[in-house]
Each structure stands twice: as C-alpha cells, then as structure tokens.
Symmetry: C2
Subunit: 203 residues, 2 copies
C-alpha cells in the first residue's frame, strides 16, 4: 500500500510508525495523517521527545532501572527498605510491582532472562552487579520476581546457584490460583502447587 | 500509571505516544520501551521523520492532495485523463480509489465534508478551487466519491448546486449491495436502492 503513497515524506514517516511492534501499515498511515493535522510545534515536541529520551536516559548505577539521573528515585529514596532486593527482568516489572503498593524494598533489573532461543546467555544479564550488592551492602533477603516461564525458572535457578552461598534469605513470589479464577479452568500445575502450598484460612 | 514512571523523560515520551488516536497509556509505554532498545540513529530517524514531514509536506496547488512538490504526482502525470475530476473528502480516499486501479482521471481533495456537528462549514472546504478548475480547464465530468453518510450527501448536494450550471456531466459512485454481502443483513435503504437501480445481468 505504501508504495502507492503520493509523497516520499509521507512514505518515510508511515514506514517509521509501521516499524513499531503491533502497528500495521494502515494504522501507521492513520497516525501520520493525524500528525499532519497537528500544529508544527506539537509535532516537533512529539518527534523530539523520543530523541531526547533515547539520548539522555540513564540506567541507575545501583539497580539498572531506567532513570533521569545516575541513581534512580527508588535507590535514592531514604524511606525504602534497603535490606531487601527484588530481582526482576525489566523495568516493566518494576512498574507492575510498584503499582501493587505492597513492596517497599529495592530492585535489581536484570535486563532480560536466560533464553537460549532468544540468544540471551547468563553473561548478558546484570548478575555480577547483584552479587556485588549483596556482598557490599547489608542485604538480608533476595526476592525473585521473574516470569513463571521456562526461561524465568532457569534464570531463578542460575541466580540461586550464584548467591545461595552468600548467607541471605532467598524467596520467590507465591504461586497459586489467581484472584477471580475458576478452578475448572486453572491449569493442573498451578492447582496442584496451590494445594501443596495451602495457607491458613483467614476469616 | 504514568505518574509512577521513574523518569520524567520516559513520562514525556510515553505521554506523546498516548496523545495519538487509538494508543492507550499501556501501549504508549510499550512503544517507548521498544524505542529505548533501538540504536540512537534509528530513534533519531524515527523522530525526525515526522518533524520533516510536517515541515516540508505541501498541498498540490491544483487538487489539494498531499505532495512533496507544488504539483502532485497525479496532476503532473501526463497519462492521466484530464477531463474527469473525482471529488473526495481526504487523501485517504484518494489512496483507496487508486488501489482499485479502476480510475485514471484527476482528483479534487475537499479536505473535509460539511458537518455542522463537527463545525465544518461549506466555506472550510476547497470548493472555489474546484469551480475554477471546471471553468478554466477542459473538464467534462465530475465524479462525486464521498461517504454515503448524511454529511457526505449534504456535501454532494451543496457541490451540485455550485456546479450544476457549468454544463458538465455530474456522476456519483454506484450504490448497491457490497460484494460478499448476504441480502438478509443488508440495510433496507441499500437493498431498496439496488432494486430501483438494477442493472443488466452480464453472463
């Protein structure tokens, strides 16, 4: 379709949108035509926001979270519990956990999980920094909050091997039936585990 | 959700995406995190493509179509039939009609249709230019290709009033049952019209 666009500029802009995940060529064209209707200043703000972000964003030197500064807001927040580190795959997981408002400790963003299929080896992850943090700071607990996929489990196991001798408590997110789930449609593994790990009923 | 993002830059970029039609805050964040993984040069190309487009795109001085030059590719193409003008609402309609490969004439892009609800008055449309073209050039036929909505019909009627005395043929797209439609689910108006305008059966 784009080859038939009457303008090289239009083509180029639509192609840029279409490179984004989940955006097809028709949507890309719709978005470009929308931008064309906006004031020049707004479109400049739009385009420059991504360039500025890409050029200026930093990774927190402590936890590898995205940050405007060398040290992220969480690591530099004196009210956070500095004795527990929650290990996550990506910044998106940090956001999800922060939204629950149930966690007040620190994070460690691995930047991926071990995945031979995707070509991610243990050396690609931010593991040495984690081991250093445990050794140098007064960390009492490491909470694994990785996806419960094959890759997540593999990564947990690898990390466990790396830090189990460091004499800290190692925990993982509770597994069980989701709130709102119908048992009939819950997978066997989850249901089986949630029976084994059954909890006292709270009235 | 965005208020909890750990970075002002990230917030700003995600907000820019979320301003686009059909892009929610979650998708916006996903797109921004995708951009963050791309090389700086690619992100600069991405952002600048929209700014360049917005600053440099022109409207064809003849038909009001979008164009890189003063005169668009269609108007300057010597192989197009210069005696017929197809009147459309927007550039998107030009693209749809071009895709059918059934039309080889010129276009006239109104830039909207009359819509009191949306605050579009006849004076907002590119009508004077159309009248001028009919008067000054050797135009034999005007084909109305506007949406078959109340606004489209109103606009057709308004245009008809403006050009009917100019002694040219005025046509409109055939109305009828869509290819692939089941009669049971075709609306009464369309079905009724397609009976009135029934065509010779071609074996």
């Amino acid at each position: 379709m784009h080859n038939e666009l009457p303008s090289i500029l239009l083509n180029a802009a639509a192609d840029e949108f279409a490179k984004l995940p989940g955006i097809g060529k028709k949507t890309a064209l719709r978005l470009v035509l929308h931008l064309l209707k906006q004031p020049v200043a707004d479109v400049e703000k739009f385009g420059n926001s991504f360039i500025k972000l890409r050029n200026e964003i930093k990774h927190c030197k402590i936890c590898n979270n995205l940050s405007d500064n060398d040290i992220c807001e969480i690591c530099s927040n004196s009210r956070r519990n500095k004795s527990i580190i929650c290990v996550v795959e990506s910044i998106r997981d940090v956001l999800s956990i922060e939204q629950t408002q149930q966690y007040s400790g620190l994070y460690h963003v691995l930047g991926g999980i071990i995945s031979p299929m995707a070509g991610v080896a243990p050396s690609d992850l931010n593991v040495d920094l984690l081991v250093q943090r445990i050794k140098n700071e007064n960390i009492k607990e490491i909470l694994f909050a990785l996806n419960t996929t094959m890759e997540g489990e593999t990564t947990c196991y690898y990390l466990y091997k790396k830090i189990s001798m460091l004499n800290i408590e190692i925990t993982t997110l509770a597994r069980g039936v989701n709130f709102g789930d119908e048992l009939e449609y819950t997978d066997e593994l989850t249901l089986g585990r949630s029976i084994l790990n059954r909890q006292p009923f709270i009235k």
